[in-house]
């Protein structure tokens, strides 16, 4: 199967799964921004995405996307280290025009993955997972809340400066990952030429920044609200 046996095939899977995850981020960011304007609206979305069959199917597809992206990332990285050989250069200089993120995608991926584990344990585990196991209320600090009360979760976690900073670091890692990942995915599919190269890179930067700002605004807004 050429998707597994050839380097371009493997990269194509990395590219498609990456674009899929990018689209998910866009959705997740849009949904979060709703919470800034109306907590009720946000909770409506949370209810919609609870233990309903379509939300569960969506979650499974999403999890598959993540797992494929991670496994392929690991596989490609190991192959590339092998291709690089055991002998390393004594003197290394990064050539002009090479983005820092492009050479550290794997490290950024590990950082992002670490935060995903934290994020899932804080939100998903107590929300969708709790609903699936039939819990009608979960503990959040000293209080009990409904697993569908997403706004309560945001308010609780983002009132803690430690989590706010950790989440902001996470968004920065995602920003770096996306600035390279977006245009690189397009390049791998082959939709690129001399004119579009710079356009895609520019679109990547803008897109990554929009995603970053969307997530960051929610986090910061709720922290400021918690101070008041």
């Amino acid at each position: 199967m050429w998707l597994l046996n050839s380097s371009i095939g493997r990269k194509l899977i990395m590219s498609i799964s990456g674009i899929f995850l990018i689209l998910f981020l866009l959705f997740h960011m849009s949904m979060n921004v709703a919470a800034v304007f109306s907590e009720e609206a946000y909770n409506t979305i949370c209810e919609f995405l609870g233990a309903n069959w379509y939300a569960v199917v969506g979650t499974l597809v999403l999890a598959a996307g993540f797992i494929i992206h991670i496994i392929y990332g690991l596989w490609l990285t190991l192959q590339n280290r092998k291709a690089r050989g055991n002998d390393r250069y004594a003197v290394n200089a990064t050539p002009k025009g090479v983005e820092w993120s492009s050479q550290n995608m794997f490290v950024l991926g590990i950082v992002i993955l670490g935060f995903i584990v934290l994020h899932l344990s804080q939100f998903w585990y107590k929300m969708m997972f709790a609903e699936l196991t039939g819990n009608v209320s979960v503990t959040l600090g000293d209080t009990f809340v409904s697993p569908a009360d997403g706004a309560a979760f945001i308010k609780y976690y983002f009132s803690n400066i430690v989590f706010v900073i950790l989440y902001l670091i996470w968004y920065v890692a995602i920003w770096f990952h996306l600035t390279h990942g977006f245009w690189s995915a397009i390049q791998t599919i082959g939709w690129n030429n001399r004119i579009w190269m710079n356009r895609w890179k520019c679109i990547s930067n803008i897109f990554a920044t929009i995603i970053f700002l969307g997530f960051a605004i929610v986090t910061i807004t709720f922290y400021i609200k918690s101070l008041a």
């Binding site: 050429w2 046996n5 050839s6 380097s7 371009i8 095939g9 493997r10 990269k11 194509l12 490609l76 192959q79 590339n80 092998k82 291709a83 690089r84 050989g85 055991n86 002998d87 390393r88 250069y89 004594a90 003197v91 290394n92 200089a93 990064t94 050539p95 002009k96 025009g97 090479v98 983005e99 492009s102 050479q103 995608m105 390279h180 245009w183 690189s184 390049q187 791998t188 599919i189 082959g190 939709w191 690129n192 030429n193 001399r194 190269m197």
Partner: protein, 251 residues
């Protein structure tokens, strides 16, 4: 009288493919800034021979940036710190008095060291043999303009064909990938009507060979393009990806 500089060289010495190599330091005095980098190495080797030592082995041939034979990873850059030139076109005026210059061979699993600074780049020949040609014998030179080719296509093909196969892209790539080389060679044919006929087969065959020989997977860092002495663009890689994917989808 020319301006001269004194330099310290840290040169990778390795007696054979299986033996362990190490850096050796040499002092050179009174090197003219007008001499080329390889002339400087010639001076070093003459000195070593006169002292009864083994000269440093390095690849070179035309010394005018066409043949793709010279290599050398100089101070962290394939073909040295100057832009868009091969090592043989690099001059000592790019270095300053008292500088330590580190010279290493290309390092990549696909390019094993033969001796000192010389590496085995026959993997590129094998990739070319897998499909880097037009297989129909077309006889003598056809009349000019008997096959009309748009000027932009001709220019693009010419730029892709400027790849001299030196291997700097592989040397610069953190993934040891040969995609810039393969994509340039695929593009130079695919852009012209004579080569387009076999384009799909060529892309598949050359890429399969590249993978088989253990080169890495491209992650689009662009280090190859930045270090390429001929400025071959990574848009060639996009073209190869496009051709390979559409060829496989048609199968």
């Amino acid at each position: 009288m020319d301006k001269t500089i004194n330099i310290t060289l840290k040169v990778w010495r390795q007696r054979g493919p299986q033996e362990k190599g190490a850096f050796q330091t040499y002092q050179l005095e009174g090197i003219s800034v007008d001499s080329s980098f390889l002339e400087m190495l010639d001076i070093l080797n003459e000195k070593l021979i006169n002292e009864g030592q083994e000269p440093v082995v390095f690849d070179h041939d035309c010394r005018e940036g066409i043949c793709g034979m010279c290599s050398l990873y100089v101070n962290g850059h394939p073909h040295g710190p100057d832009e868009d030139v091969t090592t043989c076109q690099l001059h000592m005026r790019k270095f300053h008095d008292g500088e330590t210059i580190t010279i290493e061979p290309w390092r990549s699993a696909g390019f094993p060291v033969i001796r000192d600074l010389m590496v085995d780049r026959s993997a590129f020949d094998k990739i070319m043999q897998a499909g880097g040609y037009v297989s129909v014998n077309t006889g003598g030179v056809p009349d000019a303009n008997s096959i009309p080719i748009p000027k932009p296509d001709a220019d693009e093909a010419m730029e892709s064909a400027s790849c001299i196969g030196c291997g700097a892209c592989v040397a610069a790539c953190k993934n040891g990938s040969a995609m810039l080389f393969v994509s340039a060679k695929v593009s130079q044919f695919a852009l012209l009507p004579q080569g387009r006929v076999e384009a799909a087969r060529r892309a598949k065959a050359m890429l399969a060979k590249m993978d088989e020989l253990g080169f890495g997977n491209c992650t689009n860092t662009g280090a190859c393009e930045a270090e390429c002495p001929k400025n071959v663009s990574i848009t060639n890689i996009a073209r190869l990806n496009r051709q390979f994917i559409s060829a496989k989808l048609k199968d």
